[in-house]
């Protein structure tokens, strides 16, 4: 009897195959967004609903976080500055840190956790319960209704949330500074605006647009391509948050390099 032979593929090859297939799928998903966004139907009502869900419903969490970040960062920075007798620089330091990095980053991370997980779980459960199939058989484009609307909403809402977080963080910082250094509100905010440039605000907004897009597209992708079953819903929600956060940090790093190059060039 002939001996059976088994074709064995090394695990690394299989994993590489899986990685590149996944990457190609993800690119196709993003490409489809840019193809679909231009053509009707535009689903304005659903975009508005998503803006409300993503923007307005995130306000309590974002408000609290932004305010606390302002207070904590001011408190932590004071000892270092006071060693050099430079506590009067606190408003400038805080404004630069909040507007350039902390505001966008903290807001994006909170949104990735709150909004990303919710989008991932919602779309994934719709897939598991055949609601996406139900749309397809009714001649409705589920990608347009579910993905395009949510990605637009996250992309539009994140810069607004970032500006709101920046404001609250600065207010938190002001309360802390005013109690310890007896600085008036006008003096504090004059120093805040003197320290930041148009480039800081502009880059913060552009960066936030990318963060919002990332959270939306990653969460929709993970939800839309989740495996069947309730286990898949949990995995999709989790993967949406983890992947969004990972990409946000990479984007933050890239934006830092680009903005520094512009500033120095």
């Amino acid at each position: 009897m002939a001996e059976k032979t088994y074709e064995r593929r090394p695990t690394i090859t299989k994993n590489l195959d899986k990685f590149f297939t996944g990457l190609a799928d993800a690119f196709a998903f993003v490409k489809r967004f840019f193809q679909e966004i231009w053509f009707p139907p535009y689903e304005f009502k659903e975009i508005l609903r998503q803006c409300y869900e993503i923007g307005y419903r995130s306000l309590p969490l974002i408000s609290l976080t932004g305010f606390i970040v302002g207070i904590v960062f001011t408190n932590q920075s004071r000892p270092s500055l006071s060693e050099f007798g430079a506590t009067s620089w606190l408003p400038s330091l805080i404004s630069v840190a909040v507007v350039r990095a902390m505001g966008p980053l903290v807001t994006a991370l909170i949104a990735a956790g709150k909004v990303g997980s919710s989008i991932g779980a919602e779309i994934s459960s719709m897939k598991v319960t055949e609601q996406i199939d139900a749309m397809e058989v009714s001649a409705i484009n589920p990608y347009k209704y579910l993905v395009v609307t949510r990605v637009i909403a996250t992309t539009l809402m994140l810069p607004i949330l970032v500006m709101y977080t920046d404001f609250l963080a600065l207010m938190g910082s002001y309360i802390n500074v005013s109690q310890n250094e007896l600085v008036s509100m006008s003096t504090f905010f004059v120093q805040v605006f003197e320290a930041i440039s148009f480039l800081d605000i502009f880059s913060s907004i552009i960066k936030s647009l990318f963060f919002g897009f990332t959270i939306g597209i990653v969460s929709c992708y993970k939800g839309y391509n989740s495996t069947k079953g309730t286990e898949g819903v949990g995995k999709a929600a989790n993967a949406s948050v983890v992947m969004s956060m990972f990409l946000i940090f990479i984007e933050e790093l890239l934006s830092l390099q680009i903005v520094n190059a512009i500033r120095n060039g």
């Binding site: 199939d133 397809e136 009714s138 001649a139 409705i140």
Partner: protein, 249 residues
């Protein structure tokens, strides 16, 4: 001779190494209720998902209303899908919408220039015909399994389909609700002049709703005909045991 409204020839479908359909031939005639019977995992749902273009076949031909499904562009496929109603196993009602919004959703996106009054009349009429007019403002989570099935069927009927595909319409329901759903399926055929394929493993449902039954075993139809022809004179042991299990147990 009766007119064929859907036709499958030599249809095959595999998922990886698993061959689900292995050369399926089936005709659906205009105005008939055809019941497809088979064990769980035998590929019954796959069959109707291919018919509506949710899954792609591997080989063979699938003609619906004279059109080969695999050759249609998305726009043509969507136009054809409007003539096919698909009632899902778990009803697939949109969780975030009320019953009214569930029914309105496919209607307003596919039929233009309807007035609010026309939309409401259509929704209320259909809810009346499935016996659930009081559920119009309820959320799917507030409905029982049987009510969800009825609403799911009403939602597919809102676009006046010519073909109805029912995926396990009585699965998970109590015997009384099963009888109600069976009655609704025959009532839909009479009121809306539809041709239907009913996917089930419930012989009571098959006997009550089917003009013909087709038994799917090993990826092929082993018997097709009227209920009595297929079961009462069955020679295949597996078909016999299917009958015995349903009616004797």
């Amino acid at each position: 001779m009766m007119e064929k409204i859907a036709e499958m020839k030599g249809l095959t479908k595999s998922f990886g190494d698993l061959k689900v359909l292995q050369g399926v031939d089936l005709d659906l005639y205009k105005g008939e209720n055809l019941v497809v019977l088979g064990k769980s995992g035998s590929g019954k749902s796959v069959l109707i998902k291919i018919l509506v273009g949710l899954l792609k076949k591997d080989e063979g031909s699938v003609m619906v209303m004279g059109k080969e499904i695999s050759e249609l562009k998305l726009k043509e496929l969507n136009a054809l899908r409007l003539k096919i109603g698909f009632s899902f196993q778990n009803s697939a009602l949109y969780d975030s919408m009320t019953v009214r919004e569930n029914m309105e959703f496919p209607l307003v996106r596919n039929v233009k220039n309807l007035t609010r009054k026309e939309i409401d009349t259509k929704i209320e009429g259909l809810l009346d015909s499935v016996g659930l007019p009081q559920s119009i403002n309820q959320m799917p989570s507030e409905l029982s399994g049987g009510q969800k099935k009825r609403i799911g069927i009403a939602r597919t009927l809102i676009l006046n389909p010519q073909i109805m595909l029912y995926d396990e319409p009585t699965a998970g329901l109590d015997p009384i609700t099963c009888v109600e759903i069976n009655t609704l399926i025959t009532q839909v055929r009479e009121e809306y002049n539809t041709s239907s394929i009913v996917i089930t493993h419930d012989l009571t449902c098959a006997k009550a709703t089917g003009d013909r039954v087709a038994v799917l075993l090993d990826g092929q139809f082993k018997a097709v005909g009227e209920f009595s022809e297929v079961f009462e004179n069955a020679t295949d042991e597996r078909i016999k045991s299917f009958y015995d299990y349903n009616f004797i147990q």
